[in-house]
């Protein structure tokens, strides 16, 4: 019976995708483009070998960001601040990581630790504000995003800027060779394609760790109870304040890893062009994947696929921004349908329960 319900849950994203495609087709028609052609071009571009590597690379930070957000969601917390948290983590890690050189595995580990520590700390501020001052984390994390942006801009142009550089714009010193993550192409025999980021390994580990943490441990159990019903959680001995801070720090910790994929994989330094927006994108993926480690992986790949395949559209006279619309549609619709399906399942269970008890 449980299986039946699981299958029903999966229908929500499928419905959302279908409707989203429908709406996007409608819009394309309105602006005078052929939907079938558009989607065909996107699809063909998206499944090329080069694209697939690119898609996987893109999905790595999306996935980790989604996990960071999902940890919060499980507790009923909305960590919109993943954006600011990951950028701060990346900046500090880029600066400190470039100051020395040790053997690669240790160097990368060190960079990871620095990034995670920075972002957790930044997230902890929001946790503290919620617990001590009652400020809702949506507002505080968003404000902290703006404050973080300002702090990053300032420190990048002053203390973190590469000394003695001929380059006009501010940027950190480049990471030494030992601080760069080697690509995985060797293992998959795809040496003719571009680098497949080694950070993929970390992403998979993160997913497994997330699953274990939330569904297997007592801490995760406490998190989920508090997210479902904070009052019952309090009556069961949980200290909700402590848990809020722990959840925010954990979420922030995951956030710190988000920027490391790009940083260790190809950027190798923090510049003003460093990829932004991953924090917000992660929210979408978490909602789409319903906070489930596998669902979010699929969601991340889906969004990465859309982003990548849309790039070809410019060359075909279709505004590539249609892809952002599609993402947004998917999001809004899937969120509605998850709710609809959830209620349906509950109704079914009530029916089953009263039927069985009459037997």
């Amino acid at each position: 019976m449980k299986m039946r319900f699981r299958l029903v849950s999966v229908s929500a994203p499928i419905i959302a995708l279908t409707i989203s495609f429908g709406l996007s087709s409608l819009i394309l028609l309105i602006i005078g483009k052929d939907p079938y052609e558009t989607f065909k071009i996107m699809f063909e571009y998206g499944i090329r070998g080069k694209s697939i590597v690119s898609i996987i690379n893109r999905s790595i930070p999306l996935y980790i960001s989604a996990i960071a957000v999902a940890v919060g969601f499980k507790m009923g917390l909305f960590n919109i601040g993943v954006e600011g948290q990951y950028l701060m983590g990346s900046l500090v890690a880029a600066y400190i990581g470039a100051q020395f050189s040790i053997i690669t595995p240790l160097h990368i580990l060190f960079i990871i630790i620095v990034a995670v520590a920075t972002s957790s700390l930044w997230a902890a501020i929001a946790g503290y504000l919620k617990v001590e001052k009652g400020i809702h984390e949506v507002i505080s994390t968003i404000m902290l995003n703006y404050i973080g942006t300002g702090l990053i801009a300032y420190s990048l142009t002053t203390i973190f800027d590469e000394p003695n550089s001929n380059y006009d714009l501010p940027r950190t010193k480049e990471l030494p060779e030992t601080g760069k993550m080697p690509p995985l192409n060797k293992f998959f025999n795809i040496e003719d394609l571009q680098d497949l980021h080694g950070f993929l390994v970390i992403a998979v580990l993160v997913g497994i760790f997330y699953y274990w943490l939330v569904w297997k441990t007592t801490l995760g159990f406490d998190l989920r109870i508090t997210g479902s019903n904070p009052i019952a959680a309090k009556f069961s001995g949980i200290n909700p304040n402590k848990l809020v801070v722990i959840a925010m720090i954990t979420s922030g910790g995951f956030a710190g890893l988000v920027g490391l994929g790009p940083l260790l994989g190809y950027f190798h330094r923090y510049t003003i062009d460093f990829p932004t927006g991953l924090g917000f994108a992660g929210i979408g993926v978490a909602l789409l994947g319903r906070n489930h480690p596998f669902g979010m992986a699929v969601g991340a790949l889906l969004f990465a696929f859309l982003q990548r395949s849309a790039q070809i559209l410019d060359l075909n006279d279709v505004p590539k921004e249609i892809e952002q619309m599609m993402q947004a549609f998917i999001l809004l619709i899937v969120v509605v349908f998850y709710e609809v399906i959830r209620r349906f399942i509950v109704k079914q269970q009530v029916k089953d329960a009263s039927k069985r008890s009459d037997e």
């Binding site: 109870i225 001995g237 200290n239 009263s354 008890s357």
Partner: protein, 503 residues
């Protein structure tokens, strides 16, 4: 004599439940007509249909001998029906006046002519001898006053038929007397009263005619003069009404729980409770009586560790609990059945397996050294509870929300008792559940007590309190005002202590 209400062959089903099955009643105009039945008999559903909140599957209703088709509360209000709900439908943060006039005007009218409303309401209050200050905020009112507001609310809208759903459930005996006096005044002014209750003594005191419902069906309608309490009880449940069985064993000498001089103020400095001291012995049920809001709930929460104490000691099995948080207290042998099972005791969206762990997540039984949850043990325990407490459910992986109220409560009580605690704190353990579940819980409590369990019992059901407890302490305005052996007290006397009339 005119019929105020004529209900014919009403049927209503919900998924898996036949709430009303071919129900017919005739209510004479100007009568006080009672409908009795235990929880789950279908009375509430019938009232919701009368009030337009729910549509019947089939059947006819006539109001004042005109066919009536009510698809919303507004329709019923227009026909002269007013409903006073068991759980008051008043907005706490609005004033009495605002609550009374809500919904009267169509929303897109310009201004509320407040003074006009005030005079009209005053007239109604005078006519029916009901008094209340219109400018007060509802959350400042007492329970009896809130009920009065509800009555004025419906009378102001021209109600000629008043439906009262379990009106005395939240009142002490003195307030019940006041209410009955008001009802008689209403009757003298030509209002028909429909009175839903399961308290047979009260019904026999006030009603002209009594209709009995059981398992969704209308059993019979009788004149008050022609029927006895036992007869009504037997009609209600099809067999004799269970009473809590007589006390057998005596309490032990050993003191399990001792509280000394507990005091707590709220954030505005007002006293919630003070000078609270009492003991609970082994093999004893100590009942706590008190009108809602007199501090007893907070004292119990302080013992659990949720309510902060300004001063005083809580000593459990000779250990001062001050340093221990809620979690440690729950793990050291105290079990707690909170007042609101859906809000405080269970996670509705989770299944029973997960719900059995709540309150004890960190004990060795459920938590491994790695920090993972031992699900297998949870499944076993849950199944044990389900069978020992006769919880009707397809299995332990059913969501908590799918169970009926009675079964949810049985599960919660079972979870707490199967843990083999030394002290059980039970707050309203049988509120709102059917008689079968209630009897089972009573039996389990008594058995555990006989085997050595100490119980702290809070209940608004005075018969339950007197029937189960060995001793009873009474809370009034945050202080302990009386301690008495349960065999020496009646509900009326208890009510007097609870309202400060007796000292």
């Amino acid at each position: 004599m005119k019929l105020a209400i004529n209900i014919e062959n009403i049927t209503k089903t919900y998924p898996g439940v036949l709430a009303n099955s071919d129900v017919s009643i005739k209510v004479k105009s100007g009568d006080i007509h009672a409908i009795v039945g235990e929880n789950g008999a279908g009375k509430s559903t019938l009232m919701k249909i009368l009030y337009g909140m729910v549509k019947p599957d089939s059947g006819n209703i006539e109001i004042f001998e005109n066919k009536a088709n009510m698809s919303s509360p507004k329709d019923s209000i227009n026909l002269g029906i007013g409903m006073v709900h068991q759980h008051f439908m008043l907005a706490k943060n609005l004033t009495v006046l605002e609550n009374i006039i809500l919904g009267i005007d169509r929303p897109f009218l310009k201004n509320i002519k407040l003074s006009k409303y005030k005079t009209e309401i005053q007239k109604v209050m005078e006519l029916y001898s009901l008094n209340i200050d219109l400018n007060q905020y509802v959350d400042e009112l007492s329970v009896g006053e809130k009920q009065r507001v509800e009555i004025i609310k419906v009378l102001y809208r021209g109600a000629k038929i008043l439906i009262l759903d379990e009106p005395t459930a939240v009142l002490v005996p003195q307030e019940v007397k006041d209410l009955f006096k008001n009802l008689k005044d209403l009757k003298n002014n030509g209002v028909t009263v429909l009175f839903i209750s399961h308290k047979l003594d009260e019904v026999l005191e006030i009603a002209d005619e009594i209709s009995v419902m059981r398992s969704g069906q209308m059993i019979d309608t009788v004149l008050n003069d022609n029927v006895s309490k036992t007869q009504l009880a037997e009609m209600m449940i099809g067999k004799s009404l269970p009473t809590p069985p007589a006390r057998l064993t005596s309490t032990d000498e050993e003191v399990i729980l001792k509280v000394e001089n507990l005091k707590s103020n709220d954030e505005n400095g007002r006293t919630i409770f003070e000078d609270v001291s009492f003991e609970v012995h082994k093999s004893e049920i100590l009942g706590i009586a008190g009108v809602e809001g007199n501090g007893q709930k907070e004292v119990v929460e302080a013992i659990i560790g949720i309510q902060a104490l300004d001063s005083g000691k809580v000593i459990f099995k000779n250990n001062d609990l001050e340093k221990q948080g809620t979690r440690e207290r729950l793990e050291s042998g105290i079990s707690f059945i909170p007042e609101d099972r859906q809000l405080q005791a269970m996670i509705m969206e989770m299944d029973l397996t997960n719900n059995v762990i709540i309150g004890r997540q960190n004990i060795k039984k459920y938590k491994s050294s790695l920090g993972t949850v031992k699900m297998k043990n949870a499944v076993n325990e849950s199944e044990k509870v389900i069978s020992a407490f006769e919880v009707k459910t397809p299995g332990t992986s059913t969501l908590a929300t799918a169970l009926s109220g009675g079964n949810q409560q049985k599960f919660v009580v079972g979870r707490e008792l199967e843990d083999d605690p030394s002290l059980l704190i039970a707050s309203q353990p049988t509120r709102g559940i059917d008689i079968g579940a209630q009897a089972l819980i009573w039996e389990k409590l008594r058995n555990s007590r006989d085997e050595g369990l100490s119980v702290l019992l809070i209940s608004a059901d005075l018969e339950e309190l007197i029937g189960l407890s060995d001793r009873i302490i009474v809370f009034y305005q945050g202080k302990l005002v009386k301690e008495i052996e349960a065999e020496n007290i009646t509900p009326e006397d208890l009510g007097s202590y609870m309202t400060g009339l007796k000292k």
